[in-house]
């Protein structure tokens, strides 16, 4: 590991300008009533005090993509139009863990060339999260707020300056030309204090151990009809099947593929975009058959997946970012579902 450095806060603009020479830089910015990863023109737009964004960084890797263009019997894969590499600046531990899970998921039996192409074209400057939201519970899952792997650089807000730790040779190159101060042991201690303080801010928690087994064992548990049909688990309304939970989930990866022909009909494009197991059509097969016609079955499927009990295993399981809780108009809370399954 290369020695850690320090970046004075007033030098952040310079740092971002420096990164922009080589990368398209995306980072958290404030909108009317939420935060979102957007292209950064100026460091002033950056909001390193963000709790969470509505949509996770998966929007850069796996949202909606054109896969190929076809013409008659022939097809050609579309070349990436990106001229520069892109950099995600200020990624929190929950989201970084989710990206690492997707890295495993998309390289298991089959290597997904579309995901990997974008992923290989990206760099990550992570940020230790010190603004814990009311829905966050990464600490209880071991997915935050500390970060140990997966970043090129890691920033920690120490008050007047950022501690910069290097995680890769690409990260080292990012700061090489900058004349940064070396960090000393008291800076590293300050970082530990920040993390400790963050740990005291968590309101929610979830005990993951064995939940995958429990969810599969109790398929008829009352909690499924509470969230799927009646409402009433910790004050929630019944599920809307709107799909928000899975679309904002950083580890949900299911997608659909469709051909969009031009009016000539013999040529067009093939696209893929995120799908959701919460939608009625997701499990529909020929002649209108459907494996999950009941709302209850769909919401149970999603929860089971987040507990690590579905096809993605732990590579599509929950990282505790709390987005599904924030995005659910019915106030369904995954941590309450877990408690209920455990009989707590």
């Amino acid at each position: 590991m290369k020695p850690a450095k320090k970046l004075m806060k007033e030098e952040l603009g310079q740092f971002v300008d420096h990164l922009s020479k080589e990368y398209l830089v995306y980072g958290p910015v404030a909108r009317r009533s939420d935060f979102s990863f957007q292209e950064i023109d100026s460091a002033e737009d950056l909001r390193f005090d963000y709790t969470t964004t509505t949509i996770p960084p998966k929007k850069f890797f796996h949202h909606r993509q054109t896969l190929l263009r076809y013409s008659g019997e022939d097809y050609s894969e579309l070349e990436s139009t990106l001229e520069k590499r892109f950099l995600l600046l200020g990624v929190h531990s929950c989201d970084l863990n989710a990206i690492l899970r997707h890295d495993r998921l998309f390289t298991r039996q089959f290597h997904d060339p579309y995901y990997l192409k974008l992923r290989r074209n990206s760099a990550i400057v992570a940020l230790i999260c010190t603004h814990i939201g009311n829905s966050c519970f990464c600490a209880s899952l071991g997915t935050g707020p500390t970060i140990r792997e997966g970043f090129d650089l890691l920033l920690t807000d120490l008050g007047n300056e950022y501690l910069i730790e290097v995680g890769s040779s690409e990260g080292q190159r990012m700061i090489e030309e900058l004349n940064l101060q070396k960090a000393n042991s008291s800076d590293l201690e300050k970082k530990e204090e920040r993390v400790k303080l963050a740990l005291t801010q968590f309101v929610k928690s979830m005990k993951m151990d064995g939940l995958n087994q429990l969810a599969l064992k109790y398929l008829d548990h009352e909690v499924w009809s509470l969230i799927g049909e009646k409402g009433g688990l910790a004050g929630c309304f019944a599920c809307l099947s709107c799909g928000n939970c899975s679309l904002v989930c950083p580890t949900c990866y299911c997608f659909e593929v469709a051909d969009i022909p031009e009016l000539s009909l013999n040529q067009g494009v093939r696209i893929r975009e995120l799908d959701s197991c919460q939608l009625l059509e997701y499990a529909e097969v020929a002649l209108g058959g459907n494996f999950r016609r009941d709302r209850k079955a769909r919401v149970r499927q999603w929860m089971t997946c987040k507990f690590g009990g579905a096809g993605g295993g732990f590579d599509s399981s929950c990282v505790g970012c709390g987005r599904c809780i924030n995005a659910c108009p019915s106030h369904i809370d995954i941590t309450e579902v877990a408690k209920s399954l455990r009989g707590e």
Binding site: R31, R32, S33, D34, S36, T54, I55, K59, H63, R64, G231, F237, A238, C239, L240, S241, C242, G243, N244, L247, V248, A258, I260, P261, E262, L263, S264, L265, E273, L274, S276, L279, L280, E281, R295, N326, A327, C328, P329, S330
Partner: protein, 250 residues
């Protein structure tokens, strides 16, 4: 062989037909593909030959329209319920929540001239093959239906919530973060989340999505402060007489 198409207007505003005219750049290639066999809005040509696709806009609200829709069904290979009026009754169906006489007397001085029945979706009278939702349907979905018929496959239309389109566009959520009465969670997608993308709540103009949970949506709207009368109006506006919304709209 070009697809022989007819465009019919029942009780509606002609907005759905206007969407086809608004295709503009796509019109020349589209006309390579379809033949306009009947379309009173654009040509005085009379309807003679049987159709490959009949696009029917509007709800059925007169005895003459009942007869006509049956005739169209008989003479068309594919009958498309074109837009919300044809699918759910849409805005004209708001008057189904009052008596026929009340509706007639509100508008007309001499009601004995009026030959009107309660507006209903066209599937009340005939079988339809494709529902093209929206008030009006998005141009891309219109093209998709025509292409699907030409390719003899099922049209790739969305039946899920508007929320999905909002999330794919990374929109700021109006309902959960601003407590504004957005109908996105129960409304059929296809518009590309036009309104929420422009900081306006979804009004529900594509009708109920598949498996819409109106009961939860109505509790959510009440929770953010809408009166029960306002909740009722939200559900009545575009699809109050559908199975999905009937209870919340009543």
């Amino acid at each position: 062989m070009k697809l022989r198409c007819g465009f019919f207007k029942f009780t509606g505003c002609s907005g759905c037909q206007m969407e086809i005219l608004r295709l503009e750049d796509e019109l020349p290639p589209l006309l390579e593909m379809i033949e306009i066999a009947y379309w009173p809005m654009v040509t005085s040509k009379r309807w003679e030959e049987n159709l490959d696709i009949a696009f029917v806009e509007g709800s059925v609200s007169t005895p003459r329209e009942v007869k006509e829709i049956k005739e169209i069904r008989k003479r068309s290979r594919h009958l498309v319920a074109f837009g919300e009026c044809a699918i759910t009754g849409c805005i004209p169906s708001i008057r189904n929540f009052m008596t026929q006489s009340e509706a007639e007397e509100t508008v007309y001085e001499h009601t004995d001239w009026i030959e009107s029945i309660k507006p209903s979706e066209i599937s009340e009278y005939v079988r339809t093959d494709i529902s093209l939702p929206g008030c009006p349907p998005h141009r891309n979905t219109i093209l998709e239906v025509i292409k699907a018929v030409a390719l003899q496959r099922k049209p790739h239309l969305k039946h899920h919530s508007v929320c999905v389109e909002c999330k794919l566009k990374d929109n700021n959520c109006l309902l959960t973060t601003e407590k504004r009465p957005c109908m996105g969670p129960v409304t059929n997608a296809g518009c590309g989340a036009i309104c929420p993308s422009l900081n306006r709540e979804c009004e529900g103009c594509y009708g109920p999505m598949s498996a819409a949970n109106a009961s939860s949506q109505s509790q959510i709207l009440a929770e953010i402060g809408l009166s029960m009368d306002d909740v009722k109006r939200k559900f009545r506006k575009y699809a109050g007489t559908t199975d999905e919304y009937r209870k919340e709209a009543a």
